[in-house]
């Protein structure tokens, strides 16, 4: 369970998020939609504690993670797949995953579970992350987050720049996670990529969150999307 309660965030003097409130239930995929610069990535970083809150609270499974130092947030069970993957490029696949496992002291069985989802990574085991293809890098970024056995998973544009087959693979993993009871917060720009997996969709514009709708409603009426995103 992830709850954002009226968070305000600024980069220096420019306020980026204003009173953003969201909640994601276990076993649910909430998709955050908005244009570039609307504040989606900032929301993610604020949840992770990478940006200080001016006000508001972030609660994960009853723990106010916004009161914790940033490095304690993941241990509560928040896995983060950032935009642009941001792997530890000079480290090997194995080392990247080890860093993920370390967060909640996951044993070999956790790793085996993750590798079962991404068998390709086992083949690339001692390769340096920066030498992987784009799709493999995205797999590794996702796998790294799954290694900490998250109860909340944040994914920021996981399909950016990927081939359709790769997109499909990532989408399936997200679905699997939802089915295992993980609360998934997904940021996407590609509406079609979202609508097929999301349970609910929240729109964000200029740092404020607008309405949150069931994905069903959007699938039924595409005009809502166009109204908010102008595509």
């Amino acid at each position: 369970m992830l709850e954002l309660d009226g968070i305000n965030v600024a980069y220096g003097k420019a306020q980026v998020l204003r009173d953003v409130s969201l909640s994601v239930a276990p076993g649910e995929i909430l998709c955050l939609l908005g244009r570039n610069g609307a504040g989606k990535t900032t929301t993610m970083k604020a949840i992770m504690g990478l940006l200080p809150l001016m006000s508001g609270r972030v609660v994960v499974n009853g723990t106010a993670v916004s009161d914790l130092p940033a490095h304690k947030v993941p241990a509560v069970g928040v896995g983060y797949v950032p935009q642009g993957r941001r792997l530890f490029g000079e480290l090997t696949v194995a080392q990247n995953l080890e860093i993920g496992l370390r967060v909640r002291r996951g044993g070999p069985e956790v790793l085996d579970g993750v590798l079962a989802l991404f068998p390709r990574l086992a083949e690339r085991w001692s390769q340096r992350a920066q030498t992987l293809s784009g799709g493999e890098q995205q797999m590794l970024a996702t796998a790294r987050a799954l290694c900490l056995q998250p109860s909340v998973l944040l994914l920021d544009e996981p399909t950016e720049g990927l081939q359709p087959s790769m997109i499909e693979a990532i989408r399936q993993v997200i679905t699997v996670m939802r089915d295992r009871g993980v609360a998934v917060l997904l940021v996407e720009q590609r509406v079609d990529a979202v609508l097929s997996v999301a349970d609910r969709v929240a729109f964000i514009e200029n740092g404020r969150n607008l309405e949150t709708l069931p994905a069903e409603a959007l699938r039924a009426d595409h005009a809502i999307v166009e109204r908010h995103l102008g595509v």
């Binding site: 420019a14 570039n36 610069g37 609307a38 399909t159 590609r190």
Partner: protein, 235 residues
């Protein structure tokens, strides 16, 4: 007359073909939109036009001159203006000073202020010349970017996703602004917002995986199933 053209323009990053063998012609006075999915190579392509990135191979011609080997500032001085995709204003300087820096490329002394004020008026930032650019909202920073482009009175204005983060009203104003500029300036526009593209562009070029996928009037491109597939990812 062709203002800008490229021949076989390519760029690789560590084996990734960001832009591949692009031939591109932009006649004087046209508004051209460049569209394509994320990662299609749009920004790399325009970066090579204005010299921020050097091509791996190919040529860039501007006003009949081969500018492939000119450094960025020389190209700008030939009459190009470039606005950044990610807002890149001078955050610690005032709005006025941001635009004045651009305006001083062509005017000096007492002539700067009127130019700046006029440009700020055109984009709707005339009420806040003294504010620090970094304190503006994201949308206003984008408008400031556009204002800096306008202040240079360029022959070719390259706008990289200018409407990102703008409100509906601001987008409407932007469209009107492009309509005004058409008469005097050639415009190359990278844009995601299809309504903007459909309304302002004369011709649309679609990039996908670093190559030109389609080119033509907006309606034709919009109707092109290959473009639909690539752009919306529904393939």
């Amino acid at each position: 007359m062709t203002l800008l053209s490229t021949q076989g323009l390519s760029r690789n990053f560590d084996g990734l073909r960001a832009v591949h063998d692009v031939d591109f012609d932009l006649p004087e006075g046209q508004v051209r939109a460049l569209i394509g999915p994320n990662g299609a190579g749009k920004t790399t392509f325009v970066s090579m036009l204005c010299g921020r990135i050097l091509p791996s191979s190919g040529r860039v011609m501007f006003g009949g001159k081969d500018i492939s080997h000119l450094p960025a500032h020389r190209r700008i001085n030939l009459g190009m203006a470039y606005t950044f995709q990610i807002t890149s204003v001078f955050a610690n300087l005032s709005v006025f000073e941001n635009v004045a820096l651009a305006a001083r490329r062509r005017v000096a002394g007492a002539e700067v202020a009127p130019v700046v004020n006029a440009v700020l008026g055109r984009v709707g930032l005339h009420e806040r010349p003294d504010q620090n650019a970094g304190d503006l909202s994201y949308g206003h920073q984008r408008l400031l970017e556009i204002a800096m482009g306008l202040a240079q009175a360029p022959r070719l204005l390259i706008l990289d996703e200018p409407t990102q983060g703008l409100t509906d009203q601001e987008i409407a104003d932007f469209k009107a602004l492009i309509g005004d500029l058409k008469a005097t300036t050639t415009i190359l526009l990278i844009e995601h917002n299809m309504s903007v593209v459909m309304e302002v562009a004369d011709i649309v070029t679609v990039l996908n995986f670093g190559e030109v996928l389609a080119e033509g009037p907006p309606e034709a491109v919009h109707a092109n199933p290959a473009v639909q597939a690539a752009y919306l990812g529904t393939g």
